[in-house]
């Protein structure tokens, strides 16, 4: 395809790639470099990879950072915590988002546009502000506790903030639109006659859902789940604001290593291994999925 492009068009196509190389791969390479450096006091807080000394060229490289994080269950546990948070919230987003997406896709055009705007409106306010709003809602003197006390369900405030449930709540709230919108995109194209046809052929509503609706909206489910799962694994702000000390998450650990411990090599090694552990299964999954889709088209 690229062969057929004129010269000026080649630049047009390659500009985004150039952007990616400059602002994604170059920083990634820098992080990788730091992750195999030896940490020391100073600014920057690691020793240069290559240095000239009396003995000639010296290479100060180590895999020790990686060995260290993989030998310490603390890091592994935080990574597993993040994975489980991502998994739980993706599942919840799917369970909550699917019926909403279905309802929006199947409502009349006039109502549909209003519903879509309602889904997007929260994005008009700052993400930080929205998470902070939850903090206000959930805290001891917050609205929810006040109402519960007022109607006499509880006598003193229950602590709803600073635990991993609050984190899940915040994550699901924040990422729900990212699940709904791609799902909506697939469901809105769905031919309702297929549901009638399935019913007519003897399939009860549940079977119709499993055999017809679900397989045909699978691409939307995959897209939505990716959009939620991947960013949540590295999510830092929500656990920081709503979470407590009951569970530590990966994003928070990287932050702490960088800015609290000032151990850049360890933080970089953590970031790199996070990417590798997450990226390879996803690439494999995408390849398999592309093959499956190709067979189906």
């Amino acid at each position: 395809m690229i062969k057929n492009l004129k010269k000026q068009n080649v630049w047009f196509v390659f500009t985004p790639y150039l952007w990616l190389v400059l602002f994604f791969f170059v920083p990634l390479a820098l992080i990788f470099k730091i992750s195999i450096s030896v940490s020391e006091w100073g600014m920057p807080p690691y020793r240069d990879l290559f240095s000239l000394s009396e003995n000639g060229l010296e290479i100060n490289s180590t895999l020790g950072n990686y060995l260290f994080i993989f030998s310490d269950p603390f890091y592994i546990r935080s990574y597993l915590n993040s994975l489980s948070l991502a998994f739980t919230s993706t599942l919840l987003c799917l369970l909550i988002g699917y019926p909403i997406a279905f309802y929006v896709a199947k409502s009349k055009t006039s109502i549909r546009n209003i519903l879509l705007i309602m889904l997007i409106i929260p994005f008009w306010s700052s993400f930080l502000l929205r998470v902070y709003a939850w903090k206000v809602l959930l805290q001891g003197s917050g609205i929810i506790n006040s109402i519960l006390i007022h109607i006499g369900l509880i006598s003193e405030p229950i602590s709803m903030l600073h635990n991993h449930y609050a984190v899940i709540l915040g994550v699901v709230y924040t990422y729900l639109p990212f699940m709904i919108l791609p799902l909506y995109g697939y469901l809105v194209k769905f031919d309702l006659n297929l549901i009638d046809a399935s019913n007519d052929l003897g399939a009860k509503p549940f079977n119709t859902f499993v055999k017809v609706i679900l397989p045909l909206s699978l691409p939307g489910i995959v897209a939505g789940s990716m959009l939620v799962f991947i960013p949540v694994v590295g999510e830092y702000i929500i656990p920081e604001m709503l979470g407590g000390s009951d569970k530590l998450y990966f994003g928070k650990i990287i932050w702490d290593e960088f800015f609290v411990n000032r151990d850049w090599p360890i933080a970089s090694a953590l970031a790199m291994s996070g990417i590798v552990i997450l990226v390879f299964p996803i690439i494999i999954f995408q390849l398999m999925y592309a093959k499956y889709n190709f067979r189906n088209e």
């Binding site: 297929l194 009638d196 399935s198 019913n199 007519d200 052929l201 009860k204 397989p215 045909l216």
Partner: protein, 352 residues
């Protein structure tokens, strides 16, 4: 008609205050091909969807073999529907589409395979078993949709505009195939269509619908020759409708100034219909003939027959002449004066 196979009793349906069906009554016999014919918005599709069970009527009942099925959900009704766009499952291949409905029944795997093969043979779909739906032609998709219904051995098959998605050549061929298939299987067919030719050629009987009401039910000949009113006369084929005057026991076709002599029944009819093919025109040889004389305004040669637009006293009507005697009527040109004749038995009188 003895015990009706399907009975529709006083069925009404509204959508947001728009009346879709207004007290519709119908009786359909076993093993007949019945068409619901009407222009779009007449309620024919709503009626079909109510029979299928996708919609509930606001009032009225539906009886199938005497059993009330009004409140049964579609998945327990012993009938199937073929959709206009076929609604084949795009994620399944031909075989899986066909056996979809059988898998919902408690049938052994051998039985399913046997029945699928049977229907594949019947509809000449062999060799396409593993194909995806978008890998087969429109005509093949239509047969898969038909197979998917027929493999369930329904008591009643509903067909929503079954031929609309096919191109013209295929449509004629498929029309005959459908009729043959129905004859072979003896399943009752209810066909919804807006195409009067399709309805005429397929149906044993048909119902003409307008504004949620059934105007007339009858076989194609009755509907064509004896339409109940002007709307039906114009809807089916081309209609020449004349006003009728009843003066001193004389029945006169006003526009032609022609007195109908051989008429026993002298009711107060106000209109009459003469179909174009029943009016013949002949080039005027000598002026002496004092019979009806008209002027040819338009001539359209269509191969098997020719259409003439004739004007008499400022009133225009059509005459269709079979081109069997080429030498005769092909001489007639525009602006020629012609002599008009028709048999009095082909005049059909009605009250507006």
């Amino acid at each position: 008609m003895s015990e009706p196979f399907l009975q529709i009793i006083d069925v009404s349906k509204r959508f947001d205050n728009v009346v879709a069906l207004d007290k519709v009554n119908l009786k359909i016999a076993k093993s007949e091909i019945f068409s619901l014919l009407g222009s779009s918005g007449c309620g024919k599709s709503t009626l079909l969807r109510i029979i299928a069970g996708f919609e509930r009527p606001d009032e009225g009942r539906i009886l199938l073999e005497g059993k009330d099925i009004t409140k049964l959900p579609p998945y327990v009704r012993p009938l199937n529907i073929m959709f206009q766009n076929y609604a084949l499952f795009p994620h399944l291949n031909v075989t899986n589409n066909i056996q979809f409905g059988l898998k919902e029944e408690k049938i052994s795997k051998e039985e399913i395979n046997h029945r699928v093969n049977e229907i594949l043979n019947l509809l000449e779909l062999n060799g396409l078993e593993k194909r995806k739906i978008n890998e087969i032609s429109g005509g093949q998709q239509q047969r898969v949709a038909l197979a998917r219904c027929l493999v369930k051995k329904p008591k009643l098959l509903l067909l929503d505009e079954p031929l609309a998605a096919l191109d013209k050549q295929l449509r004629v061929q498929t029309q005959f195939e459908l009729v043959n298939l129905q004859y072979k299987l003896g399943i009752t067919f209810i066909i919804v269509t807006h195409d009067q030719e399709e309805a005429m050629s397929l149906s044993d009987r048909m119902a003409i619908m307008k504004n949620g009401e059934i105007l007339q039910v009858g076989n194609p000949v009755e509907i064509y020759e004896k339409p109940k009113d002007k709307y039906i006369a114009n809807f089916i084929g081309t209609a020449n409708i004349f006003n009728v005057l009843n003066k001193n026991n004389q029945i006169i076709i006003k526009e032609l100034n022609y007195e109908v002599k051989n008429i026993n029944n002298k009711e107060n009819y106000v209109k009459c219909l003469i179909r174009p093919e029943k009016i013949s025109v002949k080039k005027l040889e000598n002026q002496s003939d004092n019979l009806n004389i008209g002027v040819v305004k338009e001539v359209a040669y269509l191969g098997s027959y020719t259409k003439y637009l004739i004007e008499v006293n400022g009133f225009e009507f059509y005459s269709f002449i079979q081109n069997s005697l080429v030498s005769d009527n092909l001489q007639i040109r525009r602006d020629d004066k012609v002599q008009i004749s028709f048999n009095e038995t082909s005049i059909y009188f009605f009250n507006d």
